[in-house]
Assembly symmetry: C2
Homo-oligomer: 136 residues x 2
């Protein structure tokens, strides 16, 4: 089972660059596509989806359903975050995504387990609200 090798193409370089520049929020395939065309790179949206799917499969990117149910949103994963071990909270104004990787996760899990007999799975679990920067 030899590792598949990756070619370092311009498209991927710039998609990654954009994901990195926006790693505190979530982006859509269309966001990436817009960014690329604004920078004069003709990258088909198919390519964007294919790369996003690849990165998601490799767990370099976390994928969430978008709030309105039409499509998905993506975030580049910081190497040290085990996103399947915490839930995420997203600001409905600025889009910033925060990782709830704090002690409170245990409390949530315990409550759901003890009071509701429910085993939490963080994959896809997302809460919405308004972050400190977006309060009036």
């Amino acid at each position: 089972m030899a590792e598949k090798q990756n070619y370092n193409t311009n498209a991927r370089k710039y998609i990654l660059k954009y994901l990195k520049a926006n790693s505190d929020t979530t982006v859509t395939a269309a966001d990436i596509s817009d960014y690329l065309s604004k920078n004069g790179l003709n990258v088909n949206i198919t390519t964007v989806y294919r790369y996003l799917n690849k990165l998601t499969a490799e767990q370099c990117v976390v994928k969430f359903p978008s709030k309105n149910g039409s499509g998905s949103i993506y975030q580049l994963k910081q190497s040290d975050k085990a996103c399947h071990e915490h839930i995420h909270v997203k600001c409905i104004k600025c889009g910033r995504l925060i990782h709830l990787d704090c002690g409170f996760m245990t409390e949530i899990e315990n409550h759901l387990s003890k009071d509701h007999n429910f085993t939490l799975s963080c994959d896809g679990s997302i809460l919405y609200g308004i972050c400190n920067l977006c309060k009036d």
Copy 2:
């Protein structure tokens, strides 16, 4: 501002019936459509969407993004549940949706507020996991 009146049609009667019969879980427009055709009712999926949208606007139904980001799921709302005041937890196996309308909501809100400077909004917020009935 006179109230618009509602006609009591067969389509709506059966859509509601199905929603009621499944009010402990969530259903898709396709689920409803399938149920209707299995029962010999030729109701166009457009009608299903229109009624679901109406019920959602009237807050008789709660609408969530589906986990995979393709489409939405709906649940008939029990009259006494203020679904915008609590979050929801959905079983990834059986689909059952539980309303976290317990004291723990205050704890979640307080934690997000104090430790993350984040004001929770329950609309669309959904957690996933496995319910007591679906554990091996």
